[in-house]
């Protein structure tokens, strides 16, 4: 019987299949990950609707307002007052005029007419609708004057 010689040379591991698969995975995650939708706030649970189809062409001049409730890590509402979220900051609808004015000034400075800017409103499904109307009204105050609005909803796939 022949006994295998345990020489000092290490066994050659073929790396090629592993590298193939790892590159496949990287390509997959690169394509899937979406860096654009950073304006979406996860505390807002949008209503669902069949007709809410993602637009085929992305709007150039649009900014998003997130209106929702403060939630804990489990997703339970901890504060019954709806807020507008700007990152870590939160502002009540009644006091948001200054922020909106800044936004309007920004578009005026870069030379975009305010009537071409779309305000995308991501409101939580349980927010009172009067507040959404108030927010739209605030966006049309003296010196802010946005005219285009879009209400966001997640797409419900029909069975």
């Amino acid at each position: 019987m022949k006994i295998k010689s345990s020489g000092s040379t290490p066994p050659d591991v073929d790396m090629t299949p592993m590298i193939d698969i790892v590159f496949q995975l990287i390509a997959f995650f690169m394509v899937i990950s979406n860096f654009e939708q950073q304006q979406a706030d996860e505390r807002v649970t949008l209503p669902r609707n069949q007709l809410a189809k993602p637009p085929e062409v992305k709007r150039d001049d649009a900014f998003t307002l997130n209106l929702g409730f403060d939630k804990n890590k489990e997703g339970e509402i901890i504060d019954n007052t709806p807020y507008i979220f700007f990152g870590d900051e939160r502002v009540e609808v009644a006091n948001c005029s200054n922020r909106l004015r800044q936004e309007a000034q920004f578009y005026t400075t870069i030379g975009t007419p305010l009537e071409d800017v779309t305000v995308e409103i991501r409101a939580d499904k349980e927010v009172p609708s009067g507040l959404v109307q108030t927010l739209i009204q605030k966006c049309q105050e003296e010196g802010i004057e946005f005219q285009r609005f879009a209400l966001k909803a997640t797409q419900k796939v029909s069975p």
């Binding site: 790892v22 609707n49 809410a52 995308e120």
Partner: protein, 168 residues
């Protein structure tokens, strides 16, 4: 001068794989961690011209807007009654289907009236202050169209809000 010995030509050149694999794994982990699964989101456009939001603005006097009135339960904010041009449509999920049918009837009448009438026609959504926002989206969806075999049939695209009702 020493000339390189070409005796080892037959030997394989060893490419160091370890650094590349290190970097590739780093990238893989980065993309895996930054992955956020986002559901596709769509828009409903709202047509709110500037000026006089306190009074109901009528763009075309010959073509009064369709009025969708929604009353809310004052305690829970759920829909208690839905009206289309004053006609009651009910208070549950089927109310929106009925609204959708009524809109379709009106759209067909408008199409018969003339080519421009449908483009000019507006819908005015008039909810109670405390009504849950999801009902608004349902109503806008019922007015703006219907899904037929995966394709959207558009009914009315000009949708606006009525003046805000007082908070109770």
């Amino acid at each position: 001068m020493k000339i390189r010995n070409r005796n080892e030509e037959g030997e394989k050149i060893e490419v160091p794989m370890a650094p590349m694999i290190d970097v590739v794994f780093q990238l893989l982990i980065f993309f895996m961690l930054t992955l956020k699964i986002i559901e596709p989101e769509g828009n409903f456009d709202i047509n709110m011209p500037l000026g006089a939001p306190e009074t109901s603005s009528v763009t075309d006097p010959d073509l009064p807007p369709f009025k969708v009135r929604m009353e809310a339960d004052p305690d829970t904010g759920t829909l208690s009654r839905l009206f289309f041009n004053g006609q009651p449509m009910g208070n549950d999920r089927t109310a929106f289907q009925r609204l959708n049918l009524q809109i379709l009837k009106s759209v067909n009448a408008l199409k018969a009236a003339g080519p421009d009438a449908l483009d000019k026609q507006e819908v005015e959504i008039d909810p109670d202050f405390g009504l849950n926002y999801e009902n608004i989206i349902e109503a806008i969806s019922a007015c703006s169209g219907k899904m037929v075999e995966g394709k959207m049939v558009r009914y009315i695209s000009r949708i606006k809000f009525a003046p805000i009702r007082a908070e109770n």
